[in-house]
Structure formats: structure tokens, C-alpha cells
Amino acid sequence: MGKYIVLAALLLAYPTFVGDFFTFQIGAYALLLGTVALSLQVLGGYGGMVSLSQLTVAGIAGYTVAILGDNTTNVMGLGWPWWCVVTAAIAIAAIAASLIGAISVRTEGIYTIMITLAIAVSFFYFVRQNYPVFNGFTGLAGVEPPRFGALYLRDPAPFYYLSLAIAAVFFWAVRYERHATFGLALQAIRDNPRRMAALGYNVPLHRVAAHALAGVIAGTAGVALVWFNGRISPGTVGVDVAIDILIIAVIGGMRHPIGPFIGALVFVLLENFAIDLIDRERFNTVIGLCFLAIVFLSPDGLLGLFDKARQAVRADTPKPQEPRKHPDKLHHNR
């Protein structure tokens, strides 16, 4: 528990130490991308279902905000009050995620990835070709977060704290759920779906429910992301970005909900600063090599590297005590 209090204090104090760029473009963005990747960690790490459509779910929430709320594109923009828009966006994201789940849960492994990839691709082309509602290639711009008196949510610090609150709530929820009945059953289904069915569980329904909950997580992050960008277009929900989410989850580590956030931070830092290390033409190569190195060194991502380092430190510490051969000390070490 102690380490979480330290982490929380650091995250809360972060904007007072850094400028607007690091608060908004790095801090808030990493927290939101991490939250989308967290929804993938729930499905992939606990449910054994690697889905490439989590960004699509976030994008559905984002488009819903732009369509039902206000935008400056003269397409849709129904002007609903913000709380209606947010509730509707998250609910629609959860429903869409359940439908994606219903289509994909009867598949396993690579086929789940293919089906969810197909869904992501079709959503991308659908919004690009549909002008009456989604305004096609240009998308919908001028999407504003709500104002509360003098508090403007897109100012760096307020937006950072909003992103931190979203990330923290879902991080805590996922950590809690891991040991709840639903979460335990989900992990058991990952380990042995046939046995779970024989024990009386409705495996497909359980998986769809996991998609729905992950949809709430991705959808909420999607709402905040459309406020972050101020606009949404097919490029926001493209396949390259969908794969970025998978990369974030994999380099962070899928075993623990902290993994996606570590992955997102590394990803955002690389995306912003790799260009300073090397010329403009080559910076994607640097990013790619970094990810390759992480996955090569540790299949469990940065989390796995962290565990390895900790084990190495533990294995090293007793050594200086050995020459002394103090019986009490040796006993303690066992």
C-alpha cells in the first residue's frame, strides 16, 4: 500500500514541477492512452482475449461526444448538455463493446485478433466514407469540454487532474476486480474455458460481460481523448493507432494493471523525443528498435524486466552476510 501512496503523491504533485507541455501533452496524454490500454489489459491479461478494437470503442465514444454535443463543423452537433453527452457516449461505447464481444468471444487466439482487427478497419472506413453523420475524411472539429465557471477543463492542470482521476478510478477498479468473483472467473476462463463451462459458468456471456466492462473503461478514456484533441477524425481511430494500443499494453506488461500506464508513458516519451535523438527521417526506426529491445529482453514487458531486476537484487543481498555465518541471520533469510 505504501508504494501506492508515494506514487499518488508524486502524480498529484507532478504539474507543480513541470511546465504545461509535460503536464498536458505528456502527463495527461499518457494517462489516457494508458487507460485505453488498461481496457486491453483486462481483456488480454485477465481474459486471454487480445482485442485490437479497444481504440475503436474509445473512438465510438469520442464520435458520440462530437455528434451529440457541440462541434464547429456544421455536421450534426446536436448540442445536448454535457452530462447527457458523457453518459450516452460511455453507454454507447459499452454497448458497442458488448456487440464486438458477442461477435468475437467464440474465437480463440489469432482469430480473436483477426476479427477485432477487421472491426477496427471497418469502423475506420465507415467513418471516412460517411459524410452526413461523421463528416468523412475531415471528421468533426471544435469539440469543447464543459466549463465550470472559471474552470476550463482543457487548461493543462485541470485536464491533467481529470485524466489522473479517470486513470486512478479504473486502475483501482481493475485491481479490485481481479480478486472479485467476476474477475477470478474471467482468469479461470482464460486458463481453461472448457472446465469453467463444466463447472456451471456461461463462458461466452462472461466474456461478453468482460468486453462491456472494458468498453466502459475505453469509452470513458475516449470521451476525455476527444476533449484533449478538440476534434476527432478517421485518423484518430486508424489501424496504426489501434496497433499502438497493443504495443503499449505489450511493452508495459499485461499481468498487472500498472503495466499499460508504464507502457503508455514510455510510448508517449518516445513519440515526442525520439525525433531529438536522430534526424526526422529515422525517428520511427528508433521507436521500433526500442520496442523490439523491450520485447526481446522480456516477454512480460517492462513489468517483467522490473520483476527480474528485483529478483536479481534479492538474490544478491544475502551474499555479503554469508561470510559471517551468523546462525540467526541465516535463519532469517530462509
Partner: protein, 257 residues
């Protein structure tokens, strides 16, 4: 209170009539009639490929029957799904352990208990004092796994995993358990423990046990059925089966060849 109950018309817990299963041209189970009484303990013997495990899969619904009917506690369950049969009190263990390797012993047994009890989508964390958690702990004690209760199942020994399989079959007041070779791969000591465990099960729990080890099977069973080529070849008490020449020939002759 002195209500006179009508005599139970059917003393059997499980009735198989003409149950058969083909896989393409292969006849795995050929029209078997089998009647198991309540609280009965029955052993199924037979060489590899005799159809014992297939028969179990038909009883539990893991594989649908090709023909015949299955009645459990008097009700026709022939087309019911496995989970519906589980909820009626029919449990099984697997020849190859089917466990949840990254969860603890406690969590494995708890999930088995929860599967029968309902409320399987609860988003609330489990508490140590929950009735189901208590029941899970009791079942873990019954198979002597108390010391390993928090251990991740993937780290258990083979013998402990077999014990855990049995604990998962004991939750939720089962009336009939199908044990599929529970002694497979166990050491002689572990076999003795297993026999003691099976003999010590509450009397109201009946079971059918598939076992290659004649000693184990004959010690724990009231009645023995010997299967051969998808049929029941012989039925009798352990003594009768042990001294039956035809069974001996089958077991020591071509059966193990």
C-alpha cells in the same frame, strides 16, 4: 410432522438405457445399460480404449450421445448441457487435471463452489467469512491441502493437483461423483492416501471410479463393472470380479498387451 412419504419409485440415481456413441465408423460405446443406486460406489475397469472415459463424457454431457437415454435422479437429462447436470448434483474429475494454473488452490475450489451456487457475475470481492469460501476451505481440508491453500496451482505437485481435482468435485453437496482415474501417476503412498480419502467420503456421496489399478478399484467399490470394446463385459462384487477367469484373461492377456 409424521408425514408418510411415498416409497421412492426409483432407488437409482443414474440410469443409462441403450446409451451409445460412435465417432465416424468407430463405436466407442455400444448400447450400454447401466443402473447406479443412490450412495452406490461403483468401479469401472477395462483396458485402454474400452470406452470408459467416453462413457463418463456421455454421462456428464461433455459429449452428446448417439443413441439411448440418460436419467439422473429419475429425470431425463439426455440433452442437458454439462453445467445443468452439475447443478443437479452430478460432478466429475478429469483423467488429466483440468485446473486454473495461475489461481490459488483456494480460488480454484471457490470457483467450483460458485459455479453451482449462482451469482457468478458478482463484482464484489470475496470475503474469508463467506459461506462459500468456508465450504471451499472445508473441501480443501478434506483432501489435506490446507498447507497449500494459497499456493498457485501451477506450482503444485502432480499428486496435489489430483487431490485438488477431488476437492473441486466435493463442493456443493454432490450426490454422484465420476472419478476418472484419480490414481493416475500417483506414488504408492499417495495411492494409499487416495484410497483412505475415497473410503472416508460422506456416505451420502455415491461415486463411479475409473481405475486401472485393480487394488485401488476393488478396495473402494461395492460393485465392479468391467468394460470391453464399448460394452459392459461383466458386473459383480469385487470378490467375484477378482476371481473371474474371463476378467483375469482380459486383464492379464490381451488387455495389457
Amino acid at each position: 410432522m409424521n408425514q408418510v412419504l411415498p416409497p421412492n419409485p426409483n432407488p437409482n440415481i443414474l440410469d443409462l438405457s441403450g446409451v451409445g456413441r460412435q465417432f465416424g465408423a468407430l463405436v466407442a460405446v455400444a448400447g450400454i445399460d447401466l443402473h447406479i443406486k443412490r450412495q452406490e460406489r461403483r468401479a469401472m475397469l477395462g483396458s485402454n480404449g474400452a470406452g470408459k472415459t467416453t462413457l463418463f463424457n456421455l454421462m456428464t454431457g461433455d459429449i452428446p450421445v448417439s443413441q439411448g437415454t440418460i436419467h439422473f435422479k429419475g429425470a431425463d437429462v439426455t440433452v442437458l448441457k454439462p453445467q445443468d447436470r452439475v447443478r443437479r448434483g452430478l460432478r466429475r474429475t478429469y483423467q488429466i487435471s483440468q485446473l486454473f494454473g495461475l489461481l490459488s488452490v483456494r480460488e480454484n475450489v471457490y470457483l467450483a463452489a460458485r459455479g453451482i451456487a449462482g451469482n457468478r457475475f458478482s463484482l464484489i470481492r470475496t470475503q474469508a467469512k463467506d459461506a462459500l469460501m468456508q465450504e471451499a476451505e472445508n473441501c480443501i481440508s478434506a483432501v489435506h491441502l490446507d498447507d497449500a491453500i494459497e499456493t498457485e496451482v501451477g506450482n503444485l505437485s502432480h499428486g496435489q493437483q489430483r487431490q485438488l481435482e477431488i476437492a473441486m468435485a466435493l463442493v456443493g453437496k454432490p450426490e454422484l461423483i465420476l472419478f476418472d482415474e484419480p490414481a493416475a501417476g500417483l506414488s504408492p503412498t499417495e495411492r494409499r492416501d487416495l484410497v483412505r480419502l475415497l473410503k472416508g467420503l460422506p456416505q451420502e456421496i455415491g461415486f463411479i471410479i475409473i481405475e486401472h489399478d485393480m487394488d485401488v478399484a476393488l478396495q473402494v467399490a461395492d460393485l465392479v463393472s468391467v468394460m470391453h470394446d464399448g460394452r459392459i463385459f461383466k458386473e459383480g462384487t469385487p470378490d467375484e470380479i477378482e476371481n473371474d477367469d474371463a476378467v483375469q484373461a482380459l486383464y492379464l492377456g490381451d488387455g495389457h498387451g
